[in-house]
């Protein structure tokens, strides 16, 4: 008894340390389950502490964002006109980019249908605010203001417009924990955009993103885009993850290389994120409508080309790139002083945002449309070239940019 009273302090310390060591061992020994990363007791403790912190964090976030929002709204008004013009220009540029991609999208859909490949699209999402952090740089986790009541579940992907940021870990009734991609226990299946190499990107203890399961390959260069591959069943395919920053040999894991990736999203300054709550194999409704519209315009454009109609005025900027674009941009995009473009009557305008080759002025056997369709050809037999349709007389203004 005297022993216990004499060494009371040390015994208490040893007992507390021992209890926590056993608790650690039990937690580490558990088989990892993605949907339930903690045991019931541990989850309960996390729930209690999070429930204690969440109201204060939510209030502080509300007050802080209110003050900041009021000031930034006032400042934003100063630049709203300029910003509006910039957005209009950006919209016009994106229309052209979209037109360039429609043909690829349609081809991709045909190939996917042929291969019975099931693509996953974002079917539903929930916007959530970041209200707190984990408080330590050894655990890169954030607390979100939405929880199970908003339909969130563990392992749901979380993104921003810039790219992937992480996935949900624990989901509580009114809040949830977002595990960032650069946490040392986090990772995602990725694909390198140009080399099409598949890999796994992981976080490091210092909060960086790193690919460590690829061997040396001279094709991988800094600046290459890294996208989600969809292989991890968490993140939909094709979302931006980051950019290759540097490649160096990994001395601890030879012959693998250490590829450092700069995250596409700013993981250290997140305010608002998008939780992907639903993935579906069909395109979302709005996207389907857009695609149908684009397909219709494409068909109209093809028909117009066959009929030899003049190209609409909106296509002028794209002609330099060998593309025929037309769309709903109300004014010609050319600078003042350029040759005026004669716009076709509205009822005759194909109005499609679809690229198509310009009819050749002097067609030869390599010109588009000269070769007969493959179904009409016989292997080994010679064929007479199909006489191309006479090229429609192009307005002068369309030749001017060339």
């Amino acid at each position: 008894m005297e022993f216990f009273s004499r060494y009371k302090n040390a015994l208490v310390l040893i007992a507390v340390l021992l209890a926590q060591t056993i608790a650690l061992a039990v937690q580490v020994r558990r088989a990892p389950d993605a949907a339930e990363p903690d045991s019931h007791q541990v989850r309960l403790l996390r729930l209690w502490v999070t429930s204690l912190v969440t109201p204060f964090a939510r209030t502080a976030h509300f007050v802080g964002s209110g003050v900041r929002g009021g000031f930034s709204n006032y400042v934003a008004l100063w630049h709203v006109r300029q910003q509006n013009q910039e957005l209009r220009d950006r919209l016009a540029a994106m229309r052209m980019e979209q037109a360039e991609q429609v043909e690829d999208v349609m081809q991709g859909h045909r190939l996917q249908a042929m291969l019975h490949f099931r693509e996953q699209y974002v079917g539903g999402s929930v916007v959530a605010q970041v209200i707190a952090t984990s408080g330590t740089d050894q655990s890169r986790m954030l607390l979100l203001d939405k929880g199970a009541d908003a339909g969130l579940k563990p392992e749901m992907a979380v993104v921003t417009p810039d790219g992937v940021v992480g996935k949900l870990r624990d989901v509580f009734p009114h809040s949830s924990q977002l595990l960032l991609l650069n946490d040392q226990s986090s990772g995602a299946g990725v694909i390198l955009a140009s080399t099409r190499l598949r890999a796994i990107v992981k976080g490091t203890p210092t909060g960086r993103l790193q690919i460590g399961n690829l061997t040396a390959d001279s094709r991988i260069q800094p600046g290459e885009k890294v996208l989600t591959s969809g292989g991890d069943q968490v993140f939909p395919r094709g979302l931006p993850v980051g950019t290759v920053e540097s490649i160096s040999p990994d001395p601890e894991h030879q012959p693998y290389t250490s590829i450092r990736v700069r995250p596409a999203a700013n993981l250290s300054q997140l305010e608002e994120v998008l939780v992907i709550t639903e993935l579906q194999s069909e395109l979302p409704g709005q996207a389907q409508e857009d695609l149908k519209e684009a397909e219709a315009k494409h068909l109209a454009d093809v028909a117009a080309a066959k009929a030899g109609q003049p190209l609409p005025s909106q296509a002028a900027p794209a002609l330099g790139r060998g593309l025929d674009l037309s769309g709903g941009v109300p004014e010609p995009l050319g600078a003042a002083g350029e040759t005026k473009v004669q716009a076709p009557p509205p009822e005759k305008a194909p109005g499609g945002l679809v690229p198509k080759p310009i009819p050749a002025l002097r067609p030869d056997r390599y010109s588009p449309g000269v070769t007969p369709p493959a179904v009409d050809l016989t292997p080994g037999a010679s064929h007479a070239p199909v006489s191309p349709p006479a090229p429609a007389r192009q307005p002068e203004s369309q030749e001017a940019p060339r």
Partner: protein
């Protein structure tokens, strides 16, 4: 009630705190700790719960109270991370025990002593966390970034000094 001879530092300078302060200061430290890095990720360098642990440990001068205070604050911190529960709990209960044990022997009201205590315990916690994660949890690739931890210790010390002066007002002599 225990008889006091008032011949030791422990009996002369042993303080207690109002229950509300005992509860609210660690809670406030944890709340600020999770909210400050949202303003700037550099503020994640600070460890306000550690400062609270050191303050209560050296003021109470009771190793048992220091151990338990450190363990509770550390466990609460762990619950907000994705680490297993107990990593910070173990590190902080050792810090609490050491703080209370040292507080019995030296004058912890002195400014230079406080500087040394905060700097030393911050470094000690960094080493403990590294040892727990590297060897107890077996996390590969863990390295102790000495410069980073040195800066963290300096930052904690700089923040702890004014905080200690402020919290001194809540002390009650037993």
């Amino acid at each position: 009630m225990a008889t006091r001879s008032y011949t030791s530092r422990r009996e002369l300078e042993q303080y207690s705190f109002h229950p509300a302060m005992t509860l609210l200061v660690p809670l406030g430290a944890i709340l600020l700790q999770v909210m400050l890095p949202k303003l700037s990720w550099r503020l994640g360098l600070l460890d306000l719960p550690l400062i609270a642990t050191i303050f209560f440990a050296v003021a109470r001068r009771s190793p048992v109270a220091g151990t338990l205070t450190g363990a509770l604050i550390g466990l609460a911190q762990d619950a907000l991370t994705n680490q297993p529960i107990g990593v910070n709990g173990m590190a902080k209960c050792v810090v609490g025990y050491a703080g209370a044990s040292i507080g019995v022997r030296v004058d912890v009201e002195n400014l230079s002593t406080r500087v040394l205590l905060n700097f030393g315990f911050s470094m000690m916690q960094s080493v403990l966390l590294f040892l727990i994660q590297r060897y107890l949890l077996g996390i590969p690739g863990m390295h102790l970034l000495w410069l980073h931890e040195l800066i963290r210790a300096l930052a904690n010390t700089a923040v702890a000094l004014p905080l200690f002066l402020m919290l001194d007002r809540g002390k009650r002599m037993i």
